[in-house]
Amino acid sequence: MNKYETKGARSAFRLALRELGYFFKGAAMNIFSLEFLMVLIPLLGLWELLPRMGVVPRTLVPPPSDVAVAAWDMFTKHNFLKDIGDSMLKFFMGLGIAVITAIPIGVLMGWNIAMRKRALPLFQLLAPIPPPAWVPITIIFFGIGLPMQTFLIFIGAFYPILFNTYQAVKDTEPRYLASARVFGASELALILHVYFWHALGAIIMSVKTGVAMGLVMLVIAEMYGGRTGIGYVLVEAKDYFQISKMVVCMVTLGVIGWFLIEALKFIELKLAVWKVGR
């Protein structure tokens, strides 16, 4: 028995490792394809040469070599990895709360007209408030720190996920519902096996939007309050006029966003495998 269990665990681990391998290979292939490298390398070369030749002032546009040096400095001397970790913690807490609240509410609103009529107007009134407008009141409410930053990221990611989920669930093809109903499906079975899966593609799409909005709010939240995080380092670098440090922060944010979108694409591929054949 024990033997089988370890074997099962090992093979599951191996499977996970293989999937992870596929994921990184797929993601890397997008960037390091020959076609894109043909564009990327000349661009980097241009970026390196123009400031060095004095076409643009080097103090304002640091060449990639300067940026690389600054990055090395930040990672080895200033523990930039910890800033990234802090930012990611806030980000995933905010996004996670948004996902686990927005999807159920969206599904319920799409499923039942009575619930929609009661809940939707509230969200429609609150959603147009630009997320950064929440910053002052959030600071007063939560003070400066993790809860406030988490809440701001949550606010950024919540509405796109909510509205897209609701819309996709509402637009479920009535014939799928009818064909399940004829067999006696309860509303719960319809939600779990029909509505949700029909909307899954749109839900994952909306989480992608949520990731983008969440990153925006992450930077805003860290700029306004906090002692750590990528956004904080960014503002700090501005105060000391360290442009290469700012570029490092921006590139880091870009890479994180790209990575998360790739991860979601991979999840979509795994969950909505039935869509691939189309």
Partner: protein, 290 residues
């Protein structure tokens, strides 16, 4: 036995200029369908035959009239006042598929339904699709797979259990829909143009499959179609619908023995009569519009 008495279905709509308007989809249709028969509802598109089929299945409430399946009423017309509506809901909570339970699956009449498109769930594999309907019918988890396998084998899908419907051909997909409907062992299958989306050769094979399964099980089949040949080949009775408003124009009993030949002179003669009915429709309409 399915008994429809004076079924009328009226849809109210709002025109572009915001005036109220309505469509009478079905007008005063009475029809009795004996057990174990194949009955085709034939007519051009938009003649209310699909609506009528959904009323038979309890997916829509008629505006007037009532449907009885073995003496039990399916859905009576919706009431007009709110108080009556509450009572209506309470009464039909246990009867109509429209008012199924919130948490618990409640199979009602022994009806299965097959649609032209959207017949099977694309997010489930072949096996999952069949097992899902068995689950809805309250069959215990352990028995689902063997039962599903029996019917999938019967219909020739045992090799593609783990495929998704998008990986199947159109004909295979309809076959899966058929297996899914049969697996719950219904007494009545309602079909809404089940073979309209597949090519002619596949359609003929599907029709033969359907007949074979019908011999084996002896279920009642109500088939909506706009294909006269299909109706002639399959059915014991053809009910011809005419549009605007949807009503029964004519009924033809077919006594021709099975297995039938598609080129049977008797069937061809009948086909002539049926198509002439439609011709009259078209002439009538063009005269009217001039």
């Amino acid at each position: 036995m399915i008994e429809a008495r004076n079924i009328t279905k009226f849809f109210s709509i709002v025109n572009e200029d915001r005036t109220a308007d309505g469509i009478t989809a079905v007008l005063s249709v009475s029809l009795t369908i004996e057990d174990g028969k194949i009955v085709s509802l034939l007519g051009p598109s938009g003649c209310g035959k699909s609506t009528f089929l959904e009323i038979l299945g309890g997916l829509q409430a008629p505006t007037e009239g009532s449907v009885y399946i073995d003496g039990a009423q399916v859905l009576e017309p919706l009431p007009s006042t709110r108080k009556e509506m509450d009572e209506y809901r309470r009464k039909y909570r246990l009867l109509s598929p429209l008012a199924n339970g919130l948490i618990k699956n409640r199979p009602k009449h022994d009806i299965a339904m097959i649609f032209q498109d959207y017949a099977v769930f694309p997010w489930m594999t072949v096996l999952q699709n069949v097992k899902f309907t068995l689950k809805l019918r309250g069959i215990p988890r352990r028995e689902r797979e063997p039962v599903a396998m029996t019917y999938l084998r019967k219909i020739g899908l045992a090799d593609s259990l783990n495929k998704y419907p998008s990986q199947l051909s159109g004909g295979m997909r309809q076959r899966l829909a058929l297996a899914r409907a049969l697996a719950v062992q219904p007494r009545i299958i309602l079909m809404d143009e089940p073979f309209a989306a597949v090519d002619a050769l596949t359609r003929e094979r599907l029709q033969d499959d359907l007949l074979r399964l019908w011999y084996e099980t002896g279920i009642t089949i109500v088939l909506v179609t706009h294909d006269t040949d299909e109706a002639l080949y399959l059915s014991d009775e053809i009910v011809v619908f005419s549009p605007n408003p949807g009503a029964i124009r004519n009924r033809f009993a077919i006594d021709c023995a099975r297995p039938r030949r598609r080129s049977d002179p008797e069937l061809l003669a009948l086909k002539e009569r049926i198509t002439s009915l439609f011709k009259y429709d078209i002439n009538h309409e063009s005269e009217y519009s001039i």
